[in-house]
Symmetry: C2
């Protein structure tokens, strides 16, 4: 647990440190993200087919990643995976950001960069769903 | 893009390689996951307050992470973040797994470990929502 937590910190620190430390992994060959808060947001745009809107929104999402408490990020669109009842491919964009703590997520919410993102772009979407997950 | 893709591959490879290579990052201090497929699943259990069910389900989720195509993983529960209309805190468990490619996600779906997970545990949940996201 302690090692895994420091993995995230080292990944973030690695940007300047240039070399990342060995990763501690238990049981599975996959790298487990532990000690983190995963904030996953799904946006349904009012005009998902409008290329100008998409361009603006993608640029806005990239700008949002400048918030300093974000440790890992991913800006996505629905994958072309198999259509199954349980898979929701209907959203326009996803934003996954990983924080070290709940406090970092809280400060992200009130960060001027995040507030500007909402003020400048909320007219573009008609639905947003957010999931915040922490370790079991 | 090329560098970022290899970051994920190196993270996974790092388990045996012991040392990870420098991370290429643009603009933001956050580490961007690019060239990946993020498969995020949210489960609503029939008996979310039943501790025996929770124990079984948590063990089952951990077992599921043995599927070899999984590169990064996180097993979660709702965070105690602020209650806002857009935040869904109602699910019981989340599972985020990251694959290198859509093909790896497809092979995960038919992997005997995943099929056993569904066969042995699907009676425990009454709702599942899946989001599959790839790079913009």
């Amino acid at each position: 647990m302690k090692n895994r937590r420091s993995f995230i910190q080292k990944m973030a620190a690695g940007v300047s440190a240039a070399v990342l430390a060995p990763v501690a992994v238990q049981a599975s060959p996959a790298v487990g993200l532990s000690g983190a808060l995963i904030h996953h947001v799904f946006f349904w745009l009012k005009e998902p087919g409008n290329q100008q809107v998409r361009k603006q929104f993608e640029a806005a999402l990239k700008k949002l990643l400048k918030v300093k408490t974000i440790k890992i990020s991913h800006i996505g669109i629905p994958a072309s995976t198999e259509s199954r009842d349980v898979v929701d491919h209907s959203y326009s964009y996803s934003l996954m950001v990983v924080f070290d703590t709940r406090e970092d997520q809280d400060s992200y919410q009130v960060d001027p960069i995040h507030q500007a993102f909402v003020a400048e772009n909320s007219h573009l979407w008609n639905k947003v769903v957010v999931y915040d997950s922490v370790d079991v």
